[in-house]
Symmetry: C2
Subunit: 145 residues, 2 copies
DNA sequence: ATATAAATGATAATTATTATCAATTATAAT
DNA sequence: ATTATAATTGATAATAATTATCATTTATAT
């Protein structure tokens, strides 16, 4: 698991300073099970840091993404969403179209396809985005009622 | 190939009126090889329809997407992008991170994975988004120079 | 304890998207 | 060909997300 401390260590190693604001953000990110929009993160962090600016959230997210610690998702189209990456594990998501619950896909088996495509198209492929959409158990029940 | 006429016929069948503005948009969409943002589409359509409003672009895009004639991509993060769908073909994209060129992936072989995941997670999965990122032949050359 | 560069937050600016509404127009019915 | 009707358009404004600017504060290495 990625804890607040590990994230902080990671940032420090990269030369970033650990401010109380950042600590609060890291804690919220580490503790979140679902995906987070900048606005949602803002709300949560405000409990610990009432005077934090939304800008700081955006900035920290940018850093975390650049370091590969969180990844962007496309669950909601009005705003970006982010999710904590388990250390270096390559993985994807299944997103409930109704409630937003996220389940993990730990392996995707796309490496071979990716290699084949690189040959076919001449592209140098260095990554992919894979997301499944559907309805979680709970929302399936609601639909059928 | 999807031509302007076919798209128009499709819209008409669904009860939408074919206005000169829409005709111009359909033509631009059908003629575009790469992906289009609403703003880019706006520019192109203005040659034929100088007084068209950006809003009309947005509205028409919404209709086309609802009918499944175009699909949303995530090439650029600042704005949405769309690409014409070849009729009912399930396919994905490889996007060049440098110039935005798009290559098609005509089959993905994810159906079996999707079924397996549905079992594992209890989700009712009804679709997925798959995009590859990398560098096209041209931009690879530029990078190495 | 202090110097320094990085980080913060207030504010404003930018950009994308959506809502409202009166005027216009494609279409079907005559 | 005319006309009635509902859909469409575009001007305008509103909303929402994101980024830029800059003076002030602060974490960190020394």
């Amino acid at each position: 698991m990625m804890t607040e401390k590990r994230l902080a260590t990671f940032l420090r190693r990269e030369g970033y300073k650990i401010t109380p604001q950042r600590r609060a953000i890291l804690k919220a990110v580490a503790g979140a099970h679902d995906h987070l929009t900048p606005a949602a993160l803002y709300e949560r962090v405000q409990q610990a840091q009432p005077h934090i600016g939304l800008v700081t959230i955006y900035r920290t997210i940018q850093i975390l993404e650049a370091l590969g610690l969180i990844c962007e998702m496309h669950a909601e189209r009005t705003s970006r969403s982010y999710l904590l990456k388990r250390a270096s594990e390559h993985h994807h998501h299944i997103i409930c179209s109704s409630c937003g619950t996220v389940a993990d896909v730990t392996h995707c088996g796309l490496d071979s396809l990716q290699q084949q495509l690189a040959k076919e198209t001449g592209f140098e492929i260095d990554g992919h985005l894979l997301e499944f959409f559907g309805y979680c158990r709970h929302c399936q029940r609601l639909k059928s009622e």
